[in-house]
């Protein structure tokens, strides 16, 4: 076991890093509250478990394929998945599917509330059909972990390669006994100067981990008890920015009159990469601009928009950023953004982008009644080769004034949703607005849509012209009446 003390200290540092973000996740509440001494009932066992960790991007993507078996006498439908509490606040987009029926909808998953001092927290997976005793089912659990990579060393020179460290448990976290398991780690590079080597031989009696190019395999291990943990870590080259959006506010405004769908996104970006050991040097930055070597600085963002998007803008707190380019034709609508300065590790950049689109590509009117169906992407934002992670996404959908009976549906896990009123441009009763909040998303979720249905009677569209007209008429009447008063002092001169 290599320097477990170092690893734990790393872990402590990591967890303290995430302590600030823990507050954000308080809203991850659910209906079910567990007693403090809760232990998942041992009704399942994992027959075979294969975990794949993909480190291509700046956020590790984990896929756990596990064959579970009901060892209880009754049918069971609640499968618990444990996470270390500091990790839980950074796990995003957890989805569980039946491996055998990949096309089906994902299972219902929730975070169960638990003693907040416990170091282990649970996700509760509801199997759609209770698993009969002795029956088996193959689950495919996928999720990504945000803020998981730590640059080591934490400060580098401007043109140095960056190495990041990822710490994880060689045993896949499980609340149940696992008969057989292994963990595959796919690195983006073969340049891995440091990694943990486990002393205890694995089930095959070979060296642990086994290396195959840039893929490492920890395991297989036999009969690992529930909750067992074996921390390992690896340090590998990753000279790319670790783009982290602490907050993304995304507004979508539907205008029936204008036939327009206006989108605005406000980003608060930071680069989690290694900070500069010395200060930023423009000379060396300018010298390398021609050779374009890999760098941990974020130089630009590419935002592929839906085809047909138009009038894009890219501004920040002090005005327009002139270094953007928009390529739009029948096949693509790419918005290429270049921040005002290269964003090095520890630097921040906040900005907003927005664009318009033709509403008829997103909105459909049902044949019957005044019901409309709006289908828009839940997340757009940049698509980077190394990925972008979002700690918190707040989506606001502003529907036209007078829309009622609003329902929404999305496959993105939400932590909060509320309906409010938004007043703008001489509204009288205000526009119905949906506020949806999701946390820990990554740019892979760009393709997920949100579907909103609402009723919008045609009379509602005439509310505003009538209001403006009557307001102006009222104003003229008042002016006329006031003007016809005689308020002059003294006698009136007879002309």
């Amino acid at each position: 076991m290599r320097s477990i003390a170092l690893l734990t200290s790393c872990l402590i540092a990591l967890s303290s890093l995430c302590a600030a973000e823990l507050n954000l996740t308080q809203s991850l509440s659910s209906k079910q509250i567990l007693p403090a001494n809760f232990k998942p009932p041992q009704v399942f066992k994992n027959v075979n478990l294969v975990r794949t960790t993909n480190l291509d991007k700046e956020y590790p993507r984990e896929v756990i394929n596990v064959i579970i078996e009901n060892i209880d006498s009754k049918p069971q439908s609640e499968y618990y998945l444990p996470f270390e509490s500091s990790l839980l606040s950074r796990v995003g987009g957890l989805e569980v599917k039946d491996k055998k029926a990949a096309g089906k909808l994902p299972f219902k998953v929730e975070v169960v509330e638990y003693d907040s001092y416990s170091s282990t927290q649970f996700y509760l997976i509801h199997l759609p059909e209770p698993l009969q005793p002795k029956a088996q089912q193959t689950l495919s659990i996928s999720f990504s972990v945000l803020s998981a990579l730590t640059p080591v060393p934490a400060t580098i020179n401007q043109m140095d390669n960056q190495y990041v460290q990822y710490t994880f448990s060689a045993y896949s976290p499980s609340a149940y006994t696992t008969e057989k398991q292994k963990t595959k780690v796919k690195f983006p590079t073969a340049n891995i100067p440091d990694y943990s080597v486990l002393d205890a031989p694995n089930a095959d009696n070979t060296e642990d981990p086994q290396k195959q190019g840039s893929t490492f395999t920890y395991g297989p291990y036999a009969n690992i008890p529930a909750g067992a943990e074996e921390l390992v870590s690896a340090r590998y080259e990753f000279t790319k920015p670790l783009t982290h959006a602490t907050l993304l506010e995304r507004d979508i405004e539907v205008s029936h009159w204008g036939g327009n769908l206006a989108t605005e996104e406000r980003f608060w970006l930071t680069n989690r990469a290694a900070t500069l050991a010395n200060q930023f040097s423009r000379v060396s930055w300018q010298m390398t601009q021609y050779s374009n070597p890999p760098t941990s600085a974020l130089k630009g963002l590419a935002m592929p928009l839906r085809i047909g998007s138009l009038n894009p803008y890219f501004i920040d707190d002090i005005g327009n950023v002139s270094t953007s380019r928009f390529r739009s034709n029948a096949r693509e609508a790419n918005l290429e953004l270049k921040p005002r300065y290269p964003i090095f590790g520890g630097w921040k950049y906040s900005f907003r982008v927005g664009w318009d689109a033709d509403l008829k590509n997103y909105l459909r009117k049902l044949k019957t009644g005044d019901t409309y169906v709006l289908k828009v992407p839940f997340l757009e934002g940049p698509r980077q080769p190394e990925g972008v992670e979002y700690a918190r996404v707040e989506l606001k959908i502003v529907l036209p004034e007078g829309a009622t009976n609003i329902h929404h549906e999305t496959s993105v896990p939400l932590v909060a949703s509320e309906a409010t009123i938004h007043r703008t441009f001489m509204d009288t009763i205000g526009r119905s607005t949906l506020h949806l909040t999701a946390i820990n998303l990554v740019d892979e979720w760009r393709d997920r849509d949100i579907v909103v249905t609402y009723d919008y009677p045609w009379t509602a569209g005439f509310r505003k012209p009538i209001v403006i007209f009557s307001a102006l008429m009222g104003l003229f009447t008042v002016v006329y009446v006031i003007g016809s008063f005689d308020v002059s002092i003294g006698k009136k001169k007879t002309a």
């Binding site: 930023f280 423009r282 920040d316 002090i318 327009n320 002139s322 300065y341 007043r423 703008t424």
Partner: protein, 752 residues
Amino acid sequence: MATSPVDPLLKQLTGPNTRSLLRVIILLTIAAAAVSSRLFSVIRFESIIHEFDPWFNFRATKYLVQNGFYSFWDWFDDRTWHPLGRVTGGTLYPGLMVTSGIIYHVLRFLTFPVDIRNICVLLAPGFSGLTAFATYLLTNEMVTSPSAGLLAAAFMGITPGYISRSVAGSYDNEAIAIFLLVFTFFLWIKAVKLGSVFWGALTALFYGYMVSAWGGYVFITNLLPLHAFVLICMGRYSPRLYVSYTSWYALGTLASMQIPFVGFLPIRSSEHMSALGVFGLLQIVGFVEFVRNQLPSRQFQTLLRALVLVIFAVSFGGLVLLTVSGVIAPWTGRFYSLWDTGYAKIHIPIIASVSEHQPTAWPAFFFDLSMMIWLFPAGVYMCFRKLTDEQVFIVIYAVLASYFAGVMVRLMLTLTPIVCVASAIAFSQILDTYMSIDSPTPEVQANGTPASASVAAASAMLPDGLRSTRNPIVGIYSYTSKLTVVAASTVYLMLFVMHCTWVTSNAYSSPSVVLASRLPDGSQHIIDDYREAYYWLRQNTPENAKIMSWWDYGYQIGGMADRPTLVDNNTWNNTHIATVGKAMSSREEVSYPIMRQHEVDYVLVVFGGLLGYSGDDINKFLWMVRIAEGIWPDEVKERNFFTARGEYRVDDEATPTMKNSLMYKMSYYNYNALFPAGQAQDRVRNTRLPAEGPQLTTIEEAFTSENWIIRIYKVKDLDNFGRDHGSAVAFDKGNKKKRAHKRKGARTLRVE
């Protein structure tokens, strides 16, 4: 036969309603032209606040909108003039910010999601439309010709002299002040004509608004009394004058004292004394007039006249005495520099260092006023012909403003309205004379148009020898001459429009925060270094990091980077500015303690050497040196920055003082790394720089913008080992420590 809709207009058959409708349409068109010609910069660049002072006004407006009126009034700003702070609420003219704040809240009340920045950017063009209207009203009071007012409004709308301070984004006090100036004058003329308390009170109201908006209100404060005084001297005292002046003075002074920045100045400073004096004089004259009407005795009148003179002399003497004894503040330096253009350069270099305080070069008059500069005297001359009360005003205004505009570039702004009015009077006279289609026939002449009748009367006295006097009918008959003159005038007007548009587009529409250049393929390339660096500061430095820079950039740093500054464009503390100047112009060993004492975290310099941007800090450096020398003549000497032959150089032959100054080092640090060895070139000064660049020990480069225009340095913390920074840097480089030859005295016990 169907009559076309234009017919009644051409045949002058229109009723007053149609004409006023037409006039409204023309005025609206003029206002639209005035607004749209100011939008060049918005269209070319973006909706952005320009230059330097507007950034402060913008920041103050944001503060007002966010924190409400009362906290704005009591605003103590600890993010400027660190560590002194500034009582901002009491040292600014709040009119501009309050105006935009009101507009903002009204629009918000009507639920328009308008950004305060857009209100600030578009405020000046919006008010220029109102200024055109106010000029129309003012001119209409002067002459009977209805076309003069419209012409004056059109001139005012597009003349570069006014556009220079009112393009979109130029969010400065002048944006609303010129409208208020012209409108106050209109109300004053109206009040004098009618002798009405109502108009006098309105004058006071707008005068109060003007005081809240611009320091140039003193111009009104002195011009109105001067007008009244001249009228009295001309023997034109009337109850109308008495009523209008006293109601204006009493109410207006009260209104002006409500502004904290003005406070008791109206009764304590010399600039305001003429208004008070004329007020007193009017009381005496009014009294005398009253008595004279009651007692028509000739001797009594003489006595009274003597009394008037004595009282005047006594009160003037008292004024002088109060001034000398210090009860009334003496004239300020800025005021002296109005009479002696060399005054500021000697006594207050900080005023002289501002380019808009320089005397005006004569081409500037043609540049800003174009053809109006030669029409203007003609208009003033025409006022002399009749010289009614209001035309006296024009004459006085013209004379005073012409003088001031010659002294200070900035005051061209106050000259512009009167130039527009006067030249519109002259021009409309030409057009009225030559544009009438009917020729004067003898019958018409017999009926007697006033002009030809007087000519006929004049010709009666002249001998018959002259051909023009033989034939008493004088008029313009020939269509050729009519056409020629009208065509020439039209050409002049068109040239004027073209000139105005050209000047506006080329000279006055650059935001100066953003620079534009052309790429080889003709497309526009924007050089955005200022905002790049400011945004970097805003995002990547601690909230309270103190930035030291020359005062020019103080407002921009406050507005765009949102960081505390040491000095800014509100140059209220000369010593503090001199401190920064000293830090910039001294050696690092001297500057470092200064920067530590002022808790400076970052130093920002502007360097144009790579791009050839001439407005950089090295070119402003001598002003820093001069201002610092004014306070520390022993430590900073301007002479040391010049070579023996008196040249200001930055190359190999630069003086050691120059090369060791912090500003020089910061500007050229690491610059030669961009070039092959020994080839470093400064494109502003067009010189080759020394082969070896300067070395920095106490500060380190933190950020340099893309085109090197802004360079930001971080002030190093104290060395961990207690060394001075010079030896620490030398140690890091591996240089052998130079052992100082210490005298080895007897070892003593340290007692601490």
